[in-house]
Each structure stands twice: as structure tokens, then as C-alpha cells.
């Protein structure tokens, strides 16, 4: 299998782009013409060949550039990766899960040889070859969580279970939709979800927490979440709002198709074996309106969803200021 990795940027000149194949497999999140907040959960992995759900950790054409963008963000702010001391074991669990999955699912890209605790890892796209001793952090250049998530697309939260709650005690967060690890580390499930409007009243969190606590080894799950971002920027953190916030104002009817992106988060939930912690990877997919509208059914549905959405949610999802421009653009693709 030959694979192509884009050379592209997620900041500055924003050369990020999707190939026709990447558009075709984009995880379009709406299965109805209206949107309400719901906990839409399915077993993971599992999906048609070539889909973003096929494998545990999807590797796509953006892989190499995304990892370069993460390295830039970390160089500016090392606190984007944190792990409280008791979470190191969970970091090893995650490292094992990812290495084993990727070597199995993408044998042309990744190889893992294990001889007891002596491990040999080869990551061809990033040109990495590493021999190390499993569970011995001195044999890796970073802690296990940071090491493996510098080589894996998506943000990662590691949750510690205690007192019938989940605590965000470790994470690698460089492509978050406006939330901050530095601010949230050590918080429990309800505290870090506090800003989500409506959901609390709907009892969504109680149900979600109950669901998460019941996630068992050997059976992972996924759900999709979405928001809107101006420009293909991964790092839309509160810390850097001054860099990306003003860009929201740059949308015009002429450029909205290329500059306004639908941002889909593929969230998955894994119970880790040795630590009994939960891993919560949040993988981000970006697609601009113009590319989305190459699929007439998506154009039609997105138009209805964004036109009729609850104003509170439009605000929370960050596109209220541009809603009119977006909806008018999408209306042009609807032959209703």
C-alpha cells in the first residue's frame, strides 16, 4: 500500500487541504435534519473499509503535518501535556494500546516487536525507531503519554476513576475546541463539563458518567461531536484566543466557503488494563464548507441544521456571529 501524506500547515498561511478521498471519508456527524444534544454512542472500532471508524486509531493524509503542528504548540507551551504522577501507568497502557493497534492495522507504516519488556518500535512516516523497556520511563525521551501522543493524531485525556466519578488527571491537549488542560487538570467529570449549555439540565451528564464508568476492557465506544472553526486551525485553545478569536471576524460571503470549517470530533472511550483508567481520545477532522458541498446531501442537511439550531448552541459552538453568512452560502446549494 502506498500512502500519501500532505505537506500543509494549521496556522499562518493555513495550507491545510483535503483530497477528494479525504472528503469522501469525512465523518459527517448529522444523521437528521435537526440537531439536538444527545449521547449518540456506538461500539468502536468498526465501520466500512476505508472509513474513519474502521480502525482503532485512524491514520490519514494529515498525519505527518498534524504531528508537526503539535510539536510547534508544545514548544511554545509544554503544559499542553500533563500527567499527575499516579497516571504514569495509564500512560503506559495507552502507549501499548496505540502501538499494538497501529502495528496491526497499518503494518506498512508501523512495526512493533516485543520480547518480554524489551520493545522495538518503528514509525516510518515520522522516521522514528526506538528501542525501550516497557514500564521504564528512563528508556524513552518523554513520559509514555507524551511519547506516544506526539505520534498519534488527536487529543488525549486520561481519566482516573475514584469516588464514583472520573478525574481528568492526565492529557495531551493541543487541538482542543476551546478548552484548556491547564485549567481543567485534576477536575472531575462534572466540573470540566460545566460550560456546556443545556446538557446539565437534561441530565445528560449523569447518564454519560454512568455510561463511562461502565465501559469495560475489550469493548471500546465512540461518539461524534462537532463545532465550527474559522480557518483550519487545530490549536483553538483559550490560551491562544487572541490569535484565533479575531479571525472569526474575517468571514465574508466571498470567502466563507473556503475559510469556514466544520470541525468534527471523533471521541472514543477505552478502559485500560493495568491502570483501570479510561482513555478518552478526541480526534479532530476539519472540512471546509466548499468541500462539504461537493456532496449534495451534506450541503442540504448542513443548511437545515445550521439554519434551525438553537441560538444558545450556535453561540456555544462558536459560529453565531457568522451564522447568517454561513446559512446563506449553504442555501445556494439547496435545490429545495
Amino acid at each position: 500500500m502506498t500512502r500519501h501524506f500532505n505537506t500543509e500547515t494549521f496556522r499562518g498561511d493555513y495550507t491545510y487541504h483535503n483530497s477528494p478521498e479525504a472528503i469522501r471519508r469525512f465523518p459527517f456527524p448529522f444523521d437528521q435534519d435537526t440537531y439536538t444534544y444527545s449521547v449518540n454512542i456506538a461500539p468502536h472500532p468498526g465501520g466500512p473499509t476505508g472509513s474513519t471508524f474502521e480502525f482503532a486509531f485512524d491514520v490519514d493524509e494529515h498525519y505527518v503535518s498534524e504531528m508537526q503542528d503539535r510539536a510547534i504548540t508544545l514548544a511554545e507551551d509544554p503544559n499542553r501535556c500533563q500527567s499527575l504522577p499516579h497516571m504514569e501507568l495509564a500512560g503506559w497502557d495507552l502507549l501499548e494500546l496505540i502501538m499494538v493497534s497501529k502495528a496491526r492495522d497499518y503494518p506498512d507504516l508501523f512495526t512493533l516487536n516485543r520480547d518480554g519488556d524489551q520493545w522495538h518500535w518503528i514509525n516510518r512516516p515520522l522516521g522514528i525507531e526506538q528501542r525501550f523497556t516497557f514500564l521504564d520511563p528512563a528508556t524513552l525521551p518523554y513520559g509514555p503519554l507524551e511519547y506516544i501522543t506526539r505520534q498519534t493524531q488527536g487529543d488525549f485525556a486520561l481519566l482516573h476513576e475514584r469516588d464514583r466519578n472520573l478525574w481528568l488527571d492526565a492529557g495531551m491537549i493541543t487541538s482542543q475546541a476551546d478548552w484548556s488542560l491547564d485549567f481543567d487538570v485534576g477536575m472531575n467529570f462534572f466540573e470540566w463539563h460545566a460550560p456546556v449549555p443545556k446538557a446539565r439540565q437534561m441530565g445528560v451528564f449523569d447518564k454519560a458518567l454512568k455510561f463511562l464508568l461502565a465501559v469495560e476492557q475489550q469493548q471500546a465506544y465512540r461518539r461524534l461531536n462537532w463545532t465550527m472553526t474559522v480557518n483550519p486551525r487545530l490549536d483553538t485553545s483559550p490560551e491562544n484566543y487572541h490569535k484565533w478569536g479575531p479571525e472569526k471576524r474575517s468571514i465574508t460571503p466571498q470567502n466563507v466557503g473556503q475559510k469556514q470549517f466544520l470541525r468534527v470530533e471523533l471521541q472514543t472511550f477505552w478502559r485500560l488494563p493495568r491502570s483501570n483508567a479510561l482513555a478518552f481520545p478526541i480526534r479532530c477532522y476539519l472540512c471546509c464548507l466548499e468541500d462539504l458541498c461537493t456532496n449534495p446531501e451534506w450541503a442540504r442537511r448542513l443548511h437545515l441544521v445550521l439554519r434551525d439550531i438553537d441560538p444558545v448552541l450556535a453561540d456555544y459552538k462558536g459560529f453565531a456571529v457568522n451564522q447568517k453568512t454561513i446559512v446563506e452560502y449553504l442555501a445556494g446549494f439547496s435545490c429545495v
Binding site: 499527575l84 499516579h86 475514584r162 476492557q217 493495568r274 491502570s275 483501570n276
Partner: protein, 315 residues
């Protein structure tokens, strides 16, 4: 729920009442690893009924070559342990769940103080492996009536931080002495009879231990009791729960699906609403709060029973 079909590789008597079962993958494939304190649920089919009990894993959690459980024969139980003792032989296949953990170590602890009563030693056996591998400080106190009943003895290393309290020999466990003077940031874990769990919690509270540093697991299987009847609200169906059956098992036998995980009243998964209750719910779970139990509006079918005229479940 993910199930594994495993072969019984070896059965060893650890004491007159306790047998250890070693389970391996029939093809020799490695089993999922687990964390200290985890358990598996074993399916025990009898006729068209399936009884399920959960047992702590006592083997090394980082060794996927096999799982080991220790089962104490309860002659007055519902028959789950008798099934394991009398019906299961080496070479048989058993269906079990993937490991789950409701009694995990809190790895933030400065030190772990483990207190076991009787067969309550089982979850600690895997935790000891994990603590040794992670090199975290701990001490274990193991109370048993007599040496011959102390089934865990053969599985415990002879080490200065492992303390045996045999009441028959006059060596009783002094909880005050054990808990007093532990370094700040210690966590205590108790597994054993309810009385022991309560005594440790009370003692720790007296010494001002934070509640988040006090952990326990009651290792009880569902208790037998008087037969009773329940009604399913949505269908009007009446079910009879036999003396040796749990309510959850009776619901499963009648194909009324209820979610479950631990089958021991600890995980909350089987929580079921009660839409009418004329009588007394006999709560045996560790999930519902005392207020919830008193309100008689919820029941945990894996453990709890009923005595009275009418119990209607919101199913």
C-alpha cells in the same frame, strides 16, 4: 459484554473449603491483562438456567498466560460455589467475562494499608503483585479464624510487611494499632465481612482519615432467601423468584433483559425502578444510599430480595 471461553487447566485445594482454579485460553493465546483487585464473572449453566457469580482474580495481573480465582465452598449459599466445587473438573471449558475492577488501588496513596478478613483476602492477592511491580509501599493484615481456614496463606509471600492474625491462636487484629500512626496520605482497603468493613471505616473516621482514603469491597455473592413474586409493569407478567435464585437470574430466565456487571451489588449497573411496593425490599447491595433504600423506589436485582404482598418493577 465481552465473554471469554477458557479451559480449566488446574484445580488446587488451598484449604479444606477453598479451591483455586487456573483458567487458560484453549489455544494458549494471551489473556487481557488487568489491574489489582479486578474480578471476572463466571457463567454456571444448569439446565436452562445460567447462574453467574463474580470472583476476584488472585493471579499476577501482568501475566496474561492464565487467570486464577479462589472459590470458597458455601454449603448454605445459592449453589454457585457448590457448582464450582463439585461440577467443574480440569479440562472443562468455562465462559467468563473480561476482567472488571470495582476495587482498584488508588495509586495516589503514599502507602497502602490492606485489611482482609477470611476469604476477603482474594482481591488483595492480585493487588500485592501490582504493588510489588510498581514498588509502592504497603502492608497487609490478614485475619482468619484458624490457620487451616486461612486459604490465602499458601499464596502469600513470607515478608515483614505481611501480618497474619489468627484469632484461634489468640492473635486478634487491633485496628486502632494498625491505623494509628500511618503516614499522612495513606489509603486503607478492606475486604471481608460487613462487620469488618464497618469497623475499619469507623476506626479510620475516628482517626480523621478522609473518606476518599477509605476503600472497601464486600465479597458476598447473592444470598439465598424465601421465594417471592414480582410483577413487570410494562407487560403485567408475574415472575417467581426461587429460594436459590437471585431476582436478576429470575429476570434473565424469563427473558426480561436487565443490564449487569458485577452481580454483587457494587457497580450500579442493574439498578431498576420500583413502580409499586407493598411490603419490604430486602436490600443487600452496596450501591443505593440509605435514603434510596428506605424510599423503596429502587432495587438492585443482582442482590436484593423482597418480602410482602406486591412488588412491581419498572421494566
Amino acid at each position: 459484554m465481552k465473554k471469554l471461553t477458557l479451559r480449566v487447566a488446574e484445580i488446587t485445594a488451598l484449604s479444606p473449603l477453598v479451591k483455586r482454579f487456573r483458567l487458560i485460553h484453549p489455544d494458549g493465546a494471551p489473556l487481557p491483562l488487568f489491574s489489582g483487585g479486578a474480578h471476572i464473572t463466571v457463567d454456571m449453566p444448569e439446565g436452562d438456567l445460567i447462574r453467574r457469580n463474580s470472583y476476584s482474580l488472585v493471579s499476577n495481573p501482568y501475566d496474561g498466560a492464565g487467570y486464577e480465582i479462589a472459590v470458597r465452598r458455601e454449603d448454605r449459599g445459592r449453589g454457585g460455589s457448590l457448582y464450582m466445587h463439585t461440577r467443574v473438573s480440569e479440562g472443562d471449558l468455562l465462559t467468563v467475562s473480561a476482567p472488571k475492577n470495582l476495587f482498584q488501588l488508588d495509586l495516589r496513596a503514599r502507602k497502602h494499608v490492606l485489611i482482609a478478613g477470611g476469604i476477603g483476602i482474594t482481591p488483595f492477592l492480585s493487588q500485592l503483585h501490582q504493588l510489588d511491580i510498581l514498588q509502592q509501599p504497603y502492608e497487609l493484615h490478614y485475619a482468619a479464624h484458624s490457620r487451616s481456614e486461612a486459604a490465602g496463606l499458601t499464596l502469600l509471600p513470607d515478608a515483614p510487611h505481611i501480618h497474619l492474625h489468627i484469632s484461634e491462636e489468640g492473635s486478634r487484629m487491633d485496628l486502632g494499632a494498625i491505623l494509628d500512626g500511618q503516614p499522612l496520605g495513606s489509603h486503607v482497603y478492606t475486604c471481608g465481612p460487613d462487620g469488618l468493613i464497618r469497623a475499619v471505616a469507623d476506626q479510620a473516621a475516628r482517626l480523621n482519615w478522609p473518606t476518599s482514603a477509605i476503600h472497601s469491597e464486600a465479597f458476598t455473592a447473592p444470598p439465598p432467601g424465601e421465594p417471592f413474586e414480582v410483577t413487570i409493569a410494562s407487560t403485567g407478567q408475574h415472575l417467581r423468584v426461587g429460594a436459590d435464585q437471585s431476582l436478576l437470574e429470575a429476570l434473565e430466565a424469563a427473558h426480561v433483559p436487565v443490564d449487569y456487571s458485577c452481580r454483587g451489588g457494587a457497580c450500579g449497573r442493574c439498578e431498576t425502578g420500583v413502580s409499586a411496593c407493598n411490603g419490604q425490599i430486602l436490600h443487600h447491595d452496596h450501591w443505593l444510599s440509605p435514603d434510596e433504600q428506605a424510599s423503596q423506589t429502587k432495587i438492585m436485582p443482582c442482590m436484593s430480595r423482597f418480602k410482602g404482598a406486591r412488588l412491581e418493577l419498572d421494566l
